[in-house]
């Protein structure tokens, strides 16, 4: 089963499975996403559960690899107090021009993108210089017992649900060329709010696909 099929299947139960996370972590997401400004790309919009945490008035392109997710997100996108365009798109191959966004937002996204550094390099490419990357992601814990457990859980979560539980996403952000401004623990050292910027002097990654 490929990623599109996995997330199409998950779209049916996603809101139910994430009810507790949605309520408990909403304030942390709202606090992070309040820093978004201007033209924004929201990667992996899912069922649109996070749209309510976005500040109003943004010009957003919200993408997801799953048509099933995009369909579910439709009513929530329509209710957003700003402009929101929904598109089916792969985060690893963004069909967007270079330097076309001020902000990129991800929420529990880079646990599932098959090649996370490639996806992050794509975000680096489409962000304007000094553009901001706001990430709400879960990563591997540095607490040894918990980290090992998340390694074990990945053997179950990857085939059953899709995401990996043990990625070092903050290092991947740096590897993609971003400068990490802040890294805040939301739950344990697993769920993190990360803010990064595309520095002016940073050269565009050479591996970006050409369109």
């Amino acid at each position: 089963m490929n990623a599109t099929e996995t997330w199409n299947r998950s779209s049916r139960t996603y809101d139910w499975l994430t009810f507790g996370d949605d309520v408990r972590q909403g304030d942390d997401k709202r606090r992070l996403f309040a820093k978004a400004c201007g033209r924004t790309i929201l990667v992996a919009v899912g069922t649109g559960a996070d749209i309510k945490f976005l500040p109003p008035g943004l010009d957003i392109v919200a993408i997801d690899i799953s048509p099933g997710m995009v369909e579910k997100a439709g009513p929530r996108a329509a209710a957003y107090e700003g402009r929101m365009e929904l598109r089916v798109m792969d985060a690893q191959r963004l069909e967007c021009p270079d330097a076309s966004f001020d902000t990129a937002i991800t929420a529990c996204t880079f646990c599932s993108v098959p090649d996370p550094v490639r996806g992050l390099r794509e975000l680096h490419r489409v962000l304007k210089p000094e553009g901001r990357l706001l990430m709400y992601e879960h990563v591997r814990s540095n607490v040894p017992a918990v980290g090992l457990f998340l390694d074990f859980m990945t053997y179950l979560s990857r085939p059953l649900l899709g995401p990996d539980m043990n990625r070092d996403t903050v290092s991947n952000v740096r590897r993609a060329g971003f400068h990490v401004v802040s890294e805040r623990n939301v739950y344990f050292d697993i769920v993190k709010a990360v803010e990064a910027v595309k520095r002016y002097e940073t050269r565009m990654p050479s591996t970006a696909p050409q369109f």
């Binding site: 309040a34 820093k35 739950y187 344990f188 697993i190 803010e195």
Partner: protein
């Protein structure tokens, strides 16, 4: 920063309710692990083997209960204390039942399992507060 969408939704009552839910989930994991270990580990069983089997039992129990509590309380908020209760509790309960099966009644063992779960939930909560504070930095909007 746009402040129109930054009002907190987690009230004190909601926060306390989730904490109570965390304790209840961990206590349930402790009780079910205790019961499963008591049923599976025979008296005078090899202690080391009992610890390893107990750990496996606790892991399975907390993963199954995580499917119930995770959507309600949050996946990681359920998984982290559940892991400590299931894995470490399973080891401890397995060790006890291999050595003191007759000396500790089932009722007492279940109470100990629940108390162990609640203690772990409180400990993980305090640990989480410390980890959050350690990384907290005021993030202003430019």
């Amino acid at each position: 920063m746009d402040t129109r969408n930054t009002q907190p939704t987690m009230t004190g009552i909601l926060r306390a309710s989730f904490f109570a839910g965390d304790c209840l989930a961990a206590a349930t994991t402790g009780v079910v692990t205790t019961l499963a270990v008591r049923l599976i580990i025979p008296p005078d069983f090899d202690m080391v083997a009992a610890m390893m089997i107990g750990m496996a039992i606790g892991t399975i129990v907390h993963l199954l209960l995580g499917l119930v509590f995770g959507p309600l309380l949050g996946m990681f908020e359920t998984m982290v204390p559940g892991m400590y209760v299931g894995m470490y509790g399973g080891m401890l309960f397995g060790m006890r039942d291999s050595m003191q099966h007759a000396a500790v009644s089932l009722g007492t063992a279940l109470w100990v399992g629940a108390a162990f779960g609640v203690t772990v939930a409180i400990g993980v909560h305090l640990w989480n507060v410390q980890l959050r504070q350690a990384s907290a930095n005021e993030e202003g909007c430019e």
